[in-house]
Amino acid sequence: MGKGIVKLGEGNWAVKDGNLLAAKETNGRFKNAEFTVDRGTRASYVGRDGLIKESNLQDVNLVNNGDFSELGSELVTNGDFSTDSDWTLENGAVINNGSVNIIGVGSRFKQDVLTVGKTYKLDYQVVSTNGESFRFQDGVTAFADINQAVGYHTYYFEATGVRVQFQALGDINARIDNVSVKEVDPNDYWTLGTGWEIIDGIAVADGSISGNNYLISTGTDSVVGKTYKVVFTVSDYVAGNVRVRAGQFASDNVNANGTYTQYQVSSSTETVRVQGSSSFEGKIDNISVQEVKIDTPRIDFTDNTDGHLLLEPQSTNLVTYSQQFGGATDYFNNYNQASEVTNNNLAPDGTNTATQIVSTGDGKLQTSSYISLPANTTYTLSFFAKNVDATEVKSRILANGGSGGSNLTSVSYVSQINTSTWTRITHTFTTNSTSQAYILYLSNALNSGGNIQLWGAQLEALPYATSYMPTNGSTVTRDAETCTGAGETADFNSEEGVLYAEIAALANDGTTRRISLSDGSTSNRVSLELDETSNIIKAFISSGGVSQILQYTASDLTQYNKIAIKYKVNDFALWLGGVERDTDTFGSVPIGLNTLEFAQGSGSQKFYGKCKSIRVYKEALSDTDLQNLTS
């Protein structure tokens, strides 16, 4: 059915570099078309596993070998001296009995395997010794400070020559075994300025750093404007300051042992670098720098297993502490005829942060002070609840009306909750006609002795609840989303076609929400609109600024509906639920269709809602096809 389809969703979701991919069929082959998703803040969604998650880190780490533990392959041959081979033996050194024996002054064994300027890790075993001295040398420099006692030892050095050589100094009789030499940071992921070394899997500054002698990662550049999560560990701290810079010149210095997590916004394009003050003496390890990709598209699995694209408007959670209750400064801070049983129960986000309360009378968890709310404004209070053994519990809004106040609304939700899963309770109310103060209750009339669990309170000035916004001491705003710009001229046919969507509105909230195929303007477009009037759906087909408008009143646009707009010269139709709902037999077709977006064509009148599927066909489908498509 149809050819040259561009389609999105239908259970097949893909995200690349934070953008949403639609699949487009060109010449019978599928390739990807990217929607650009833009949202200035983080946002939450329900993942495929049913847990609440936040748009979050991009997996890519700008730093390679951040734990400094990467070693090259073994450079020494026959390091266990299992055969009498590969080593050059001089002045009495012999290989026998599975080790090498150096006997007498100048006795030595060697292999030439090093590269000048590289740093190496040397491992060796002193099997036995008569106590006389020996040394290790690379052919140029002698490293006399190596451990000469019986046992296994490790030594790091920067090669000035190419040789691995052990040589007796005194009248020695010693046996050496298990010699191993591996290059440190073999892929050169770090450039070491003066004063820096990589020793034993840690970067070490010896206090001799001067000027811009950074420890520089050779990994990926930071990008101006992007936010990065920077994590690193400082140990064996002695003196000075050190910081890890991800393109932010003024990142915070630290001057004590510990593991640090910082968020930095890059203001310069550069690779990650560790910057110590001239006196810094200490060690740094486990450096991780990951982009915080906040505007990733949200595929939400709240009410289906195939997932839907969730696009929401700007909203603010007015509850200042959404996950902790009962403390003096908490938003819901008053247990009235109730008490907290535990506050570490498994929550909808997988953390142990849910609170269980028990009723000792009316079982109230409420704001202790009255909250001033403007008049004639619709709010939605939402929270997650789980039953333990309660037989009754209500959510309540109490207006300040003198003695005891008067109920604005009170809603029993015990029938909505169960003991095995979390349920999001939503309580929408409109304030009185005069400015007034209110007490909000997450729990009221909880039967005495009854237990419930609560988590994630949210109060928004909207007639519906949007995705959860956690708070911890302030109100929090989630930015509005846009999803724009998929496709190009070759993907669409301006002369005829079909725009199809399976979508649900977030609410009948008096706003205009559109999905459009257009030339980037409203002059030439095929636009699907959820109207500001409840349950009205409109189709706009505009050509050179002249529009044909089709319209239908659906039963409920907050439920998923399959909707299609067919366009062809003098042949326009609006289909919904397998039925042709409106037609127009006069009009021209748009010119230059080249983009598909969740907006009206010019980027405004954004679509906020849930989308399971989008399809754009390059031909006007038959009535039978449209009936099947929208049924």
């Binding site: 916004v265 002070s369 103060a437 705003t477």
Partner: protein
């Protein structure tokens, strides 16, 4: 580059005038909508000291409100003042900087997942 600014105005009207100057348009149904993409949050006359109420819910001490009208704005896609500078810097359009204030921490409001101290001008 995205930046966060905190602002105070003498009145709601002054704040709304400033917001509208960022750009609005009207669709064919007569609905007005912003043509900019910045995230503007009206905090209003914020509470400086909470009010007090007795057990009957009667106000015993009125809350103390700021005499300034407050906005938080997440500015999106700002261009640097000098793109060639080693350290790039930014400024809001339309003289919004005249009403900008600075605070410690995040204050009474924050944008989800964004630290004001990291994103401030």
């Amino acid at each position: 580059m995205n930046k966060i600014g905190k602002y105070e105005f003498d009145s709601l009207e002054q704040a709304e005038s400033k917001i509208n100057a960022l750009g609005t348009s009207t669709d064919e149904d007569g609905n007005t909508y912003p043509t900019h993409s910045h995230c503007v949050v009206k905090l209003g006359y914020i509470v400086l000291e909470q009010g007090e109420y007795n057990e009957e819910g009667e106000e015993t001490k009125a809350p103390v409100l700021s005499d300034k009208y407050h906005l938080d704005v997440l500015w999106k896609g700002l261009e640097p003042i000098d793109a060639e500078a080693e350290v790039l810097s930014y400024i809001e359009p339309n003289d919004w900087a005249d009403n900008r204030i600075g605070i410690d921490g995040n204050g009474v409001h924050s944008f989800m997942g964004l630290d004001y101290q990291l994103y401030k001008f």
